[in-house]
Symmetry: C2
Subunit: 465 residues, 2 copies
């Protein structure tokens, strides 16, 4: 890429070819400077960085270097830095700060970011931090913590501008000028509420500017409101933003009163988090452990592998049932993984589409039967195609028509099973309130392994012995 | 959930318990009404629906019902409806419309949405649609089509408000009032450009309202701009939005001039798409085929399964090398899938974290060696733990210490390999410019299968024969 985008603080600050973010050479330079104790040499670099870039730099450094660099910058810390850090790294640096410093950071952040940071303070330190907040900030933090984790209440900003619906454009503009000190520094729309503080509309600021002072607010407001409520799961909120392509949404309490606002940039973060969760869980990882220490990572992954060991042993027990057949025809042992693995792969394809469709609320009881039918047909057709292919391979390899026919029949049967189980397993797990992204894969491959081995070896035992 | 959020057009319109979206009973009611030909009964329902909800309804219906319902509403079509439809369904309904109707829809949409819709018009119809657009709209569509697919140029809106940096607040407000007809209906900030039309800052409308008429625009503008360029991949643009938690970003052309704007709600859609792509590809599915017809789905999945068949046959060939050992000790055939499957699962864990970290630009050549070291250690520790576990299981099962020791040794070796390959494979594929999400899984499991079988059967052949 030869074109360098116009980008005032970045291209100038870093001289990098990338259009955003930090450079690898910067990371290396820092590591070297830190290891040589030449911290002051870095000040030039660091001052040119956006808070999110300094966060990236801290994440990219080894933990010793990170400690040194953070210690060097903690005196002139931009509170925003903490909002950009990965959870694991954030916990680390928060430990480095004393309660007074953490309290100062939290005071400067907007409510949603402040809560995010506070959640990562070690449990035994939280009381010390709370004690150092002002009474009003302490109340805000405590209140936000009463909302469930990952809820709209934690995600929202309390800072917003609202006016009554019977106000005029003139009233509103005067109010905004007079109360400037109490209002957010920058904002883009105004919420309109009724006498009970229920949201009834929004007014983009552009409409305020274009209308005469005597126009009533409720004559120019947008009335298609989609509200989130405090306890709403952030995933639900994200689905609502997608559904209506929203830019922002009011958050209401139990009695429908306006208490905060969620904006699309908050949702970007949520969608990222939720997608990451699904990707990782489908891969058998509970949480992003990229920055996690070796032992924590090992422990977290162990439990998933243990479940898989159980599944593998079940498959082995099934094979063990047919030891006589294998002893007589060793070709069975050679070919049996093919049937199991093709079933596993076909099932995973179906499963992936089904889990994604469940998350997007596209797969519902209303269309489950239709989708299941489709997947079984797809499995059946591909089963037939691969039956022919693998049947010929086995026939040529071992020079036995019977082996070819047996593997062909097992293949069709296992791919039909895979299509059926690929939709059914996530649906059943969901009904049992187990996250389909977590459990589906292991249940599915256990099924396709068992069915694959039983159909292939069982058929062989009947035909050959 | 007993609480029903305040939500004016939804709760009233549909009487649903969900806080957004359509109800299953609605889908069923529609299917019945359509099958009975009582289309007019549905009008009451349909009028209460948001365009995105009608889109969901069309997606949820069987294809015959969809055809009937769309035919019924095409006369009073809200153009927005098309922007909410899944690609596959959109192609279907666009076929139902004639070129004149499609042209009318495209004329009413904003540039980014118009292009989205136009792309899904059948290739042989596109010329007919273009011919029916006004000259200026035709030029806009043609221009947008010169930008690469999934680029910032296709994503941006051209509709924006920009002023020169030496203007005053007064000039700006007057301009907005006088030119109201040419400006977007609603907007939230103003772009500031220099004499060459390069963006130099933005002014949230709230700042315009709070400042006196004689204040210069460049004294109140925000100067931290992060620009996208026309050819920038939408995935890069999304990473930039995440990096700086942006609300909007200007798009510039080759000479750095402002040509459009991307907002966070566009990015929500991109992130969704990109995350979906990664999830599906890791599961061996090329594209979301949830709404795709049976034969298209079968064909698309076949090629991936064919690759997997190749991998499975390689594993079988490896097993075939040790047929003598299996013939003598049938326990080997029974236990061998355990070693291979544990390697595959452990490798998939590492791989998933690595592929995600690559997509987020967290895994880079700068930290690759460190992450690889970590994953090998994690693999080694878990390998030892599962070696002990599985060693005892095999010993008790077959009453042979040797079998237990052999499977233990093979387990450690395969889990070390899995940790190493889990990071290396995606990095190598990325270097070879192959999407790591597509190819990594099959390459990895081939490696862990082969290494698993060779180490277990090979060791057994040496020790037991």
């Amino acid at each position: 890429m030869t074109y360098r985008p116009y980008n005032n603080d970045l291209v100038d600050g870093l001289g990098t070819e990338r259009s955003y973010g930090i450079d690898e050479s910067l990371v290396r330079t820092c590591e070297v400077a830190l290891s040589m104790g030449r911290l002051d040499d870095l000040d030039g670099f660091i001052e040119g960085l956006h808070a999110s870039e300094l966060a990236d730099l801290l994440e990219a450094l080894s933990s010793e270097s990170r400690y040194l660099l953070f210690n060097h910058v903690r005196g002139r810390l931009d509170p925003e830095l903490l909002t950009y850090l990965d959870d694991v790294v954030r916990e680390d640096v928060l430990e480095q700060l004393g309660p007074a410093e953490v309290a100062a950071v939290i005071t400067e952040l907007e409510t949603d970011d402040a809560i995010d940071v506070f959640e990562d303070v070690a449990a035994e330190e939280q009381a010390h931090v709370l004690a150092r907040l002002s009474a009003s900030n302490r109340a805000l933090v405590k209140q936000a913590l009463t909302y469930p984790e990952d809820s709209a209440g934690r995600l929202m900003q309390r800072e917003l501008v609202s006016v009554l619906k019977d106000w005029s454009v003139g009233n509103t503009i005067d109010y905004m000028r007079e109360r400037a000190a109490d209002l957010p520094r920058d904002f883009y729309e105004i919420y309109v509420v009724d006498d009970d503080r229920r949201p009834v509309g929004t007014v983009p600021l552009s409409r305020l500017m274009r209308n005469q002072r005597d126009v009533r607010i409720d004559d120019i407001m947008l009335t298609k409101l989609h509200s989130a409520y405090l306890e709403m799961d952030q995933e639900e909120a994200a689905l609502m933003f997608r559904q209506y392509a929203l830019f922002s949404a009011p958050v209401v309490n139990d009695t429908g009163q306006l208490v905060g606002v969620i904006t699309a940039d908050d949702i970007v973060h949520v969608i990222d988090e939720e997608a990451e969760e699904d990707i990782l869980r489908l891969g058998g990882v509970r949480e992003d452990d990229f920055y996690e220490a070796v032992l924590d990572t090992t422990r977290a992954r162990f439990s998933w592998l243990l479940v898989n060991l159980g599944a593998a042993i079940i498959a082995s027990l099934v094979i063990g049932l047919f030891d006589a057949a294998i002893e007589q025809v060793v070709a069975l042992a050679i070919l049996m993984p093919v049937v199991a693995s093709m079933g596993g792969n076909a099932g995973t394809q179906t499963l992936t589409v089904a889990v994604r469709a469940l998350a997007m609320k596209e797969l519902t009881p209303a269309n489950a039967a239709r989708i299941m039918g489709k997947e079984v047909i797809v499995g059946g057709i591909n089963g037939l195609l691969f039956a022919v292919l693998m049947g010929f391979v086995a026939w040529f390899w071992f020079g036995e028509t019977t082996i070819g026919l047996i593997i062909a029949a097992a293949m069709v049967f296992n791919l039909l099973t895979a299509g059926f189980a690929g939709v059914t397993v996530p649906l059943l797990l969901q009904r049992m309130r187990i996250d389909p992204a977590v459990g589906s894969a292991v249940v599915l491959t256990t099924i396709t392994d068992v069915v694959g081995f039983v159909s292939f070896l069982g058929l062989a035992a009947i035909v050959l012995l």
